[in-house]
């Protein structure tokens, strides 16, 4: 029997003293693509940051390929954070940021041909022209694509993405979905946080839905339209038929009174 590519077993977590996850368990089989869903504040990002090792668990365990998460277990992990701007205090070019994706474990310097590989990854997200542009001078969606390229350049076997297509325009989402399809075809395991499956629908094997820190649904991805499998959205209806809508993940919501 092969061990799951990713296993969360009875994960409890607290942030700032307040409990946020209450016993989250699920397995992801090797090569499987999972959508991690749930309303705002349901605990998706918290869980993701525990998987990558950035937050400690209160109790429970997270295993990658049957091993407890450790720097070594993460050497072939790719991660796309949610909505952090790609910028920091000092200007950095898109290429520099993507090259940083080529470090792993004890490899603290980029391998040969790092620049060429970074350029390939940037081309794959449609940013070849902006490779030597300062990311501070890029739009939010362009910055998001730099972060996607930084994760993809690692050729990860386990890819964790936290709302990767939020703010990314439709053509780029298509390019991105194509890149994920290739990665999946190569056998990679993917966990992607989404609010709606949208363009990635064909890729998704199963959805894990969180509500207030608990798993409430595992299986078919819930549909975006009026059902209760997406708790936390009861009062919010996306303008689904508005042609001017910026994109599936930056919906303009209206509050129904």
């Amino acid at each position: 029997m092969t061990s799951p590519a990713l296993r969360a077993a009875d994960v409890h977590m607290a942030l700032g003293g307040a409990p946020v996850l209450h016993g989250v368990s699920f397995d992801v089989a090797p090569g499987e693509t999972i959508a991690l869903m749930g309303g705002n504040g349901s605990g998706k990002t918290t869980l993701v940051r525990a998987i990558i090792g950035a937050l400690p668990l209160t109790s429970g365990s997270i295993e990658i390929d049957g091993r407890p998460t450790s720097p070594d277990a993460r050497a072939h992990l790719g991660y796309v954070p949610q909505r952090i701007s790609a910028s920091a205090g000092v200007s950095a070019t898109a290429t520099e940021i993507v090259v940083s994706g080529l470090l792993r474990g004890r490899r603290l310097a980029p391998p040969p041909h790092a620049k060429a590989r970074a350029l390939d990854a940037l081309r794959a997200v449609g940013l070849a022209d902006l490779a030597s542009r300062d990311v501070n001078a890029m739009s939010g969606g362009q910055q998001q694509r730099v972060l996607i390229a930084r994760a993809m350049v690692r050729r990860p076997t386990l890819l964790i993405l936290d709302e990767p297509v939020a703010g990314v325009d439709l053509p780029s989402q298509e390019v991105f979905s194509e890149a994920l399809t290739q990665l999946k075809a190569g056998g990679a395991t993917i966990v992607v946080v989404l609010h709606e499956v949208g363009m990635l629908a064909d890729l998704i094997d199963r959805a894990v839905v969180l509500d207030r820190g608990r798993v409430v649904h595992v299986g078919e991805p819930p549909h975006a339209h009026g059902d209760h499998a997406m708790p936390g959205h009861e009062h919010l209806h996306p303008h689904d038929d508005d042609p001017n809508r910026p994109g599936p993940d930056t919906p303009t919501f209206e509050i129904t009174v």
Binding site: P71, R74, L77, Y79, A92, G101, L103, G105, L108
Partner: protein, 285 residues
């Protein structure tokens, strides 16, 4: 030129050049992490270390009572840097408040300790404002060794240090030894501060790390280039400031920093002007 034959000046120039080159390397990582004021916090604690070393020296009846001042500064600075890093890592107390407490605590402890050692605040002045004109050959060799360490590690590990200061979560996710790298940045910052203290003093030490980076940022869109320009600017500022004080009776540390502030103002002005011109150029008539 006699400035290059005067042994006092030769030593001072070597120290200034090395400090000017190495301080901006660590400064770039600190600015990247938005911890530009870290140097000030550590510097103030280093002053307490100077006084503690002084006290130890006089208790041990050393002929040179400040023999242990520099080791004291190094030890205190490293402790302060590691403490700040721990606080940052846990994210418990707000970084700015912790930093402020270090400022006050460091200076106040320094003044108390130097008093206990039978000295006065004026004994601390050389450390507060720098004393590059009195460096000995021993100082020079210590500076060569420590600046060499900063340059070798700070440049050799630049890709890993960039990753960890740019996006710590991603570095963790990539399996990098993030904690060790963070500690390394903190310790390198502490070492830089004790080295640079000789040139500009603890009150201005952070300026040598940050000003060159701020100037370089006006002209650079990449991290590697920012660091290279900052090193160049740092070296030029330190050597130029020191050279001027050879001919005019001015305080070298203060002059270097004032030159840096001027250079920053000019750089920012040039940048604003070129941006205004290029945006005017692209505007429709």
């Amino acid at each position: 030129m006699e400035i290059f034959t005067d042994p006092l000046m030769q030593r001072a120039l070597v120290v200034a050049l090395l400090v000017g080159l190495s301080a901006p390397v660590i400064g770039t990582y600190l600015v990247q992490r938005r911890m530009a004021l870290l140097g000030d916090g550590i510097g103030h604690v280093a002053l307490a270390g100077v006084a503690a070393g002084w006290l130890a020296g006089s208790l041990a009846n050393f002929t040179q009572r400040d023999a242990l001042a520099l080791p004291g500064a190094v030890i205190f600075a490293i402790l302060a840097a590691v403490t700040i890093e721990r606080l940052r890592e846990r994210g418990t107390s707000p970084a700015d408040v912790a930093m402020a407490i270090l400022f006050y605590g460091g200076i106040a402890t320094g003044v108390l300790l130097i008093g206990m050692a039978g000295g006065t605040g004026s004994n601390l002045l050389g450390y507060l404002f720098g004393s590059i004109s009195t460096v000995t050959w021993v100082d020079v060799w210590i500076t060569v060794a420590l600046s060499g360490l900063i340059l070798v590690v700070g440049l050799g590990l630049r890709h890993a240090l960039f990753s960890v200061t740019h996006d710590q979560d991603f570095a963790i996710a990539s399996g990098l030894p993030v904690r060790a790298l963070n500690l390394l940045v903190a310790v390198l910052a502490a070492v830089t501060i004790t080295v640079a203290m000789r040139v500009v003093g603890v009150l201005l030490v952070s300026a040598l790390m940050i000003l060159p980076v701020a100037i370089a940022q006006q002209f650079s869109r990449s991290f590697a280039r920012t660091m290279r320009i900052a090193m160049f600017v740092g070296a030029v500022l330190c050597v130029a400031g020191l050279t001027i004080t050879y001919y005019r009776d001015l305080q070298p540390g203060a002059l270097i920093v004032v030159l840096g502030v001027f250079a920053y103002a000019i750089a920012a002005g040039i940048r604003a002007a070129t941006q205004a011109r290029s945006s005017r150029g692209t505007e429709p008539a």
